[in-house]
Amino acid sequence: MVISPVHYIAVPLLAAFTIPLLSKYIHKELARIVPGIVLLYSVFVSIVLMMQVSEVGVISEKIAGWSAPWGINLMFTPFSGFLASLMSVVGFLIWLYSYNFKKIEQSQSQKYHILQMMMVTGAIGIVLTGDIFNLFVFMEITAITAYSLTSFYRERDGAEAGFKYLLIGSFASVMILLAVMILYTQLGTLNMAEIAQNAHLIPTPLRATILVLFLVGFGIEAEMFPLNGWAPDAYSQSPGPIGAAFAGIVVKAGVYALIRVIFTLFDIHGAYDFLIYGGLITMIIAETAAVAQTNLKRMLAYSSIGQMGFVLIAFGIGTKTAIIGALFLMFNHAVIKSLLFMSGSYLTYNSLNKKISALAGLGKKLPIVSLLFGLGAFAIVGLPPFSGFWSKLYVLTAAADQNMLLLIMAILAVSIIEIIYYFRVVSTLYYGKQEDEEIKVQKPSINAMVSMLILGATIIVVGVYPDIITHFLNNAADMLLDKASYIQAVLTQNIN
């Protein structure tokens, strides 16, 4: 069997449907192991396909034998492929991390792992699909798993966060659905390539309405201000690894959708400005809100929102360097935020409450976890020689090329705010005054440690030698900007 993009979707689905039976009739542990195998397989698929795609250019996969625009197709381009690979890797690491996460009760772990696996699958589906309605369906898959996982813990206020997320998320799906509907009436097609080809034929007022609906709809998923009321709650109440999954997977998918709509579907100048301003406001509000947080995970959540604002800005600048920077940012955010959430959740778990002040002195008790958290904090604020620096550099360079001095200053001012609150946590961790002498410390399990160490090593390796990744980013940025070849790749597949 030839490895093809559809494996990303089909294999996890098969597994998801099978797991209840397997765990019930063969062995309980399978419920936890099978998702891991599936996600590992996804990583394998990613590696194979990324190697292929750098030779071929675009891998296009027909579903049900119907070529576009009649059937649904999956597009593994350097751009979407990069994101899909990123998601699969992060997804696998999250599985590895949560394999025997102590807080997940045995009987629940089956559901947890299915949901987590499907979350990754849904996000990968969003990235790969070439059909706008199919994108909507995958977005709902991701959303439903996200709602459930957000409210996974009963002890926390997960349900509240989940409900808020659901409320806002429903708005998003309604708007996307309306937009798809109007789009369909105008062009009679749902294939994104064909839409991109003919978008200029839509009457201007309708086009603007469709765009607005898409922007608001996907903006909710991409955590754009003021649509991101759900985000801090969801991040902070979900289980630690799911916070990582939000940062590394779910929001990435939302941003991807937003970018796809703006870059490929409607290449309208105003939309780029929208991204810049929206991103800027998001970043400023979120980062300033993060400063005064007392809850570690909530702080991370706001920081995450701010980072996504930064990503949007980078995409909004729209030049090739900026897109490389934006993709690099997404990569960094996925890796670093995952690390922060993972290590942070061990830290909070071992503190009395989730308050930052309660973390005092954990640097000694959990040396490696604290070190990794510190590493993540250093990296996310963009200190060289860690990977966060390069993305910032690329974006700023791109902004400077466009003479956006004020934008640069705003970004850097926000970075200073970031430094303030991250360093506050790090210094509390190591030098804070300890309130309680004897708290029994829950050491991280070996698999969680491996997972975090992989992320930490990635941060350092990419930071020291970014060429590892810039090659892929370069191709991806080229692909994203080269709308014509995307359209051609989709619409000519019925010839072969």
Binding site: I168, L211, V212, A292, R424, T470
Partner: protein, 624 residues
């Protein structure tokens, strides 16, 4: 393997190794750190050819590492002082906790500075700059004291500086499409007329590290909070990185050929304005820091403020923009590295032996720590700018430059005032630690171990040598200045000469003073030796009266009270307060913005609808 890589590799490997070995023993870790720095220095001074460079690309960006004469000058400070300080650290840190982290960051800071010296492009410059910054941050908070107050403040200001620098760097990239420093200079990036923002942003960036006026508030606390063996590097070498950058920018700015761009009347003036502003900022820094230095009761804090004051002089020198002024500044930079390094080592030795640096608690250590005192004495003489030691040469050139080559006459007064007031704290330092009454608490104090004495004495001897033969430093400075744009810099081995060609032979002077000194000293000592008895500090006559057993003979508190009373208005305003208020205001604002997230899901939904409606209302203007 290329020597550039090799040196940095040695340093980074040394950092890692000392981190790992630190878990076993502090001494081993320190020795590894020392050896790696010493090895790097040896390579630096023997293996690298001036002017050689290597090019490679990283992340799609062309990078260039090389060594130029300007960098070499600072390389002397960094690696020389680094080697001595790391040797000194071994004993200093012997009995402390968490030394592995300390040595790791210590070597990293050295590596960062070495990298800055090697960097011929802005990106690697910035990378190493940041490595240096965060590694030093980790050392500052190493002690666990005042982490939030001082550590965060240091990081905030460093970030302000670093990010202004980064802005300038990307602007250079945007305008001239290059990251190479030399290309940017040739393209005129530092030419103030064409480009106002780039030089100013860079100067802000470097000004933070050089602790120039409004951005200096982090420095006293940070210098004081770091372990003393690191403060040696911090004050002696790291602050010089700011000087390095400022010299680079200002040198090229003042020597830039502006004949082509003098298109209007004001453009010429703007440079002068900038020059005056920076000069005055430096001058005010010097005065304020001096004033604060002389009211300190803690020797280390006193030196911290003194460092800032000295950096103020250097800034003033750079801002003159004349050959003599810049030379003075660079000379002062080197000499300051030496004597401030020595002084902090002295403080460290006292801290290790006597347990504290609080001058109200210890005094009269002169007989217990004679070598330490000797170092302190020589360094203080150099610091105060008293002939014939190195400090005087720098001060002299600075005044010469200010009076005869620039128009900043009142700046001279400011500098003079500060340097006169510096005598006060110089005396306070020596008196507070080494003279005065011997206290009961310090009875058991012994001289510091040999590994601490050697670096101190080396530095003290260097100070004497630089006083008599300043040409030893003039030589690298002159070539360095040619790199930053000055042509035909002349110098003499041991002769101070000014623009009219009159000269004074410092060797002659130094030897004369030395000979007279030794002979008279010998005369008095020998003549008095017979039958003279040495008495303790309790044995004082006070005009014939003998003090009671419990009479308080210690005078350490409110040392300069009369002066402080007289200068009270100058102590009222403080930059610290202004920054604090700014910070509080911002925090209140941030606290307000986060109230947007009310917690009510319905409100969030309302936000979405409002946003949607707004977008719909303006869709036709936004998305045409």
């Amino acid at each position: 393997m290329n020597s550039f890589f090799l040196i940095l590799l040695i340093l980074f490997a040394g950092a890692g190794l000392s981190f790992v070995l630190g878990k076993i023993s502090s001494i081993i870790s320190g020795t590894v750190a020392f050896l790696s720095i010493a090895a790097a220095s040896a390579l630096f001074f023997t293996q690298i050819e001036m002017g050689s460079f290597i090019e490679f690309s990283l992340g799609g960006i062309q990078l260039q590492w090389g060594l130029n004469s300007y960098g070499y000058l600072f390389g002397i400070i960094v690696l020389g002082l680094g080697t001595l300080a790391s040797l000194y650290s071994i004993s200093y840190m012997q009995n402390k906790e968490r030394t592995s982290g300390f040595y790791f960051n210590f070597v990293l800071v050295i590596a960062g500075m070495t990298g800055i010296i090697f960097a011929n492009d802005f990106i690697s410059f910035f990378i190493f700059w940041e490595i240096m910054t965060w590694a030093s941050y980790l050392i500052i908070i190493y002690s666990g004291k005042n982490v939030k107050k001082i550590g965060i403040k240091y990081m905030i200001f460093s970030a302000i500086g670093a990010y202004s620098m980064l802005t300038a760097i990307v602007m250079i990239k945007g305008q001239y499409d290059t990251f190479l420093i030399s290309d940017a200079i040739n393209a005129g990036a530092f030419n103030f007329i064409d480009n106002i923002y780039i030089p100013i942003l860079l100067l802000i960036g470097f000004g933070v590290k050089a602790a120039t006026m409004p951005l200096h508030v982090w420095a006293p606390g940070a210098y004081n909070n770091a372990p003393t063996s690191f403060t040696v590097i911090f004050s002696g070498a790291m602050s010089k990185m700011g000087v390095l950058g400022m010299g680079l920018v200002l040198g090229h700015m003042f020597t830039a050929d502006r004949s082509g761009s003098l298109t209007n009347f004001f453009s010429g003036f703007s440079v002068i304005y900038l020059q005056q502003t920076i000069g005055w900022l430096g001058g005010i820094t010097a005065v304020i820091a001096t004033l604060y230095a002389l009211i300190q009761d803690d020797a280390k804090k006193l030196l911290a403020y003194s460092s800032i004051a000295q950096l103020g002089y250097i800034t003033v020198g750079l801002a003159t923009g004349t050959k003599l002024g810049v030379m003075a500044a660079l000379f002062l930079a080197v000499v300051h590295g030496i004597f401030k390094g020595a002084l902090f080592m002295v403080v460290g030795a006292v801290e290790r032996q006597a347990g504290t640096t609080d001058m109200t608690k210890i005094s009269g250590l002169i007989r217990k720590m004679p070598f330490t005192f000797l170092t302190a004495l020589i360094s203080i003489i150099a610091l105060a700018g008293i002939p014939p030691l190195g400090g005087f040469v720098g001060k002299w050139m600075l005044y010469e430059a200010l009076i005869t080559e620039s128009n900043s006459y009142f700046l001279v007064i400011v500098i003079f005032f500060s340097s006169t007031a510096a005598f006060l704290y110089s005396y306070r330092f020596l008196f507070g630690l080494f003279l005065g009454q011997e206290e009961k608490e310090t009875e058991q104090v012994k001289e510091a171990p040999i590994t601490m004495i050697i670096p101190m004495l080396v530095l003290a001897i260097l100070l004497v040598i630089t006083g008599a033969f300043p040409g030893l430093i003039f030589s690298p400075i002159a070539t360095a200045m040619e790199f930053i744009g000055f042509k035909d810099v002349t110098w003499n081995m041991s002769v101070l000469n000014n623009v009219w060609g009159n000269e004074m032979n410092l060797t002659y002077l130094g030897i004369t003073i030395g000979v007279v000194f030794v002979s008279i000293f010998a005369f008095i000592t020998l003549k008095g030796l017979k039958g003279t008895r040495y008495v303790g500090t309790k044995d004082i006559s006070t005009s014939g009266e003998i003090p009671y057993e419990n009479e308080n003979l210690t005078f350490q508190i409110n040392f300069f009270q009369p002066f402080v009373r007289a200068a009270a208005p100058m102590y009222k305003r403080s930059m610290n307060k202004i920054w604090n208020e700014l910070g509080n205001g911002l925090e209140a604002l941030f606290n307000f913005t986060r109230k947007i997230y009310t917690g009510n899901g319905q409100t969030y939904a309302l936000f979405v609808v409002i946003f949607l409606v707004l977008m719909l209302l303006f869709k036709d203007t936004l998305f045409v």
